[in-house]
Symmetry: C2
Subunit: 204 residues, 2 copies
């Protein structure tokens, strides 16, 4: 960002805020701001209104930790979803990714991160007690917990901790399969993925 303001303070402020979005740097934020200004009626005015409305209405679901404009969120209150299966994810973005895949119609639980002792993130910083409570207070209605955390060291540590915490509740705990991504080329995959894909091979 140039130290010298180029345009009026209102435009500079817009550029500075856009530059804080993931995926936009100072240069692309300027380009985005100019695009917004040029398309004032089609884009800038609606964006201002949409941002204000989202800011006014967005809530964190007290059941699952999802963000929505209702609490409980529209997923928790959807009667067509199976209430017996809960997919545990690190973040709302993972929930959105799984919803896009549309492979299962169930409910979610957002942890809000992973255990990371080096960064000072312990179990009390995550929404883990909420999950155990949710399972315990369901009176057996929750049958399966699918742990869908990232396949990183922190993710797997969190998965093991979660499985331990859930052991007493008697609920079935499962996790995502490892293997070759659909459309993936073997040549570009790491050894761990290839080994897992071979080990868990299925009949043709």
């Amino acid at each position: 960002m140039s130290s010298k303001p180029i345009a009026g303070p209102e435009i500079e402020r817009l550029i500075q805020l856009l530059a804080r979005l993931p995926g936009l740097g100072p240069r692309s934020a300027r380009r985005a701001a100019l695009h917004l200004i040029k398309k004032k009626e089609q884009l800038l005015v609606p964006l201002a209104a949409a941002a204000k409305e989202a800011a006014d209405k967005v809530r964190v679901c007290s059941d699952c930790g999802n963000v929505d404009t209702a609490d409980p969120c529209s997923i928790c209150t959807d009667p067509r979803r199976d209430p017996g299966t809960i997919i545990v994810v690190e973040d709302v973005s993972d929930l959105w990714a799984l919803e896009r895949a549309a492979a299962m119609s169930c409910r979610y639980h957002v942890l809000g991160g992973t255990l990371s002792p080096l960064d000072g993130v312990g179990p009390e910083d995550l929404n883990i007690a909420g999950l155990v409570d949710r399972v315990a207070s369901s009176g057996g209605a929750i049958k399966e917990i699918i742990i869908a955390v990232n396949a990183t060291v922190e993710g797997q540590t969190t998965a093991h901790y979660l499985a331990d915490q859930l052991a007493d509740t008697g609920v079935k705990v499962s996790r995502l399969a490892h293997g070759v991504p659909v459309g993936g080329e073997l040549d570009y995959l790491d050894e761990g993925t290839l080994a897992a894909a071979l080990q868990r091979r299925s009949d043709f």
Copy 2:
């Protein structure tokens, strides 16, 4: 963009509008929207306010075509700038780029594009008559017009047309130097740039 809405309609609307910004696709727009929602007080609320304020206040300068929150813009009314030199640019983004370089303290004229017969862009679609008027009505106060259009075919065509139009006014017309970009590596430059850099070499 998924056809099935994942979050509330207010959040979906925000994602859709963000996806129309240059540099953000559907996926990065979702990430940006989630980032905004998570940092509601620090980012989403200020962005809504900044976008609204910019939409309310932004104007196109009737003298030079720059966008600002004042008309005439803050560059045209800045008394410390040399009113005798005008840099002609295609777009406001080029004006911003030259201002960042901070190499000259003068005024600008934004054409709003380049001549492009194939796309149906003729002289009457650009702010060319405004520039000729501005020079003619200055009573000799404007001494030099620096044509700083892109070094593309359309840009150069526009530059030649502009120089023709300005010939009768008696103003000095110049253009940007061609050469090796600062920090550039010869190996990666095209032949045209290298030929220009050799031809216009300077004493060491």
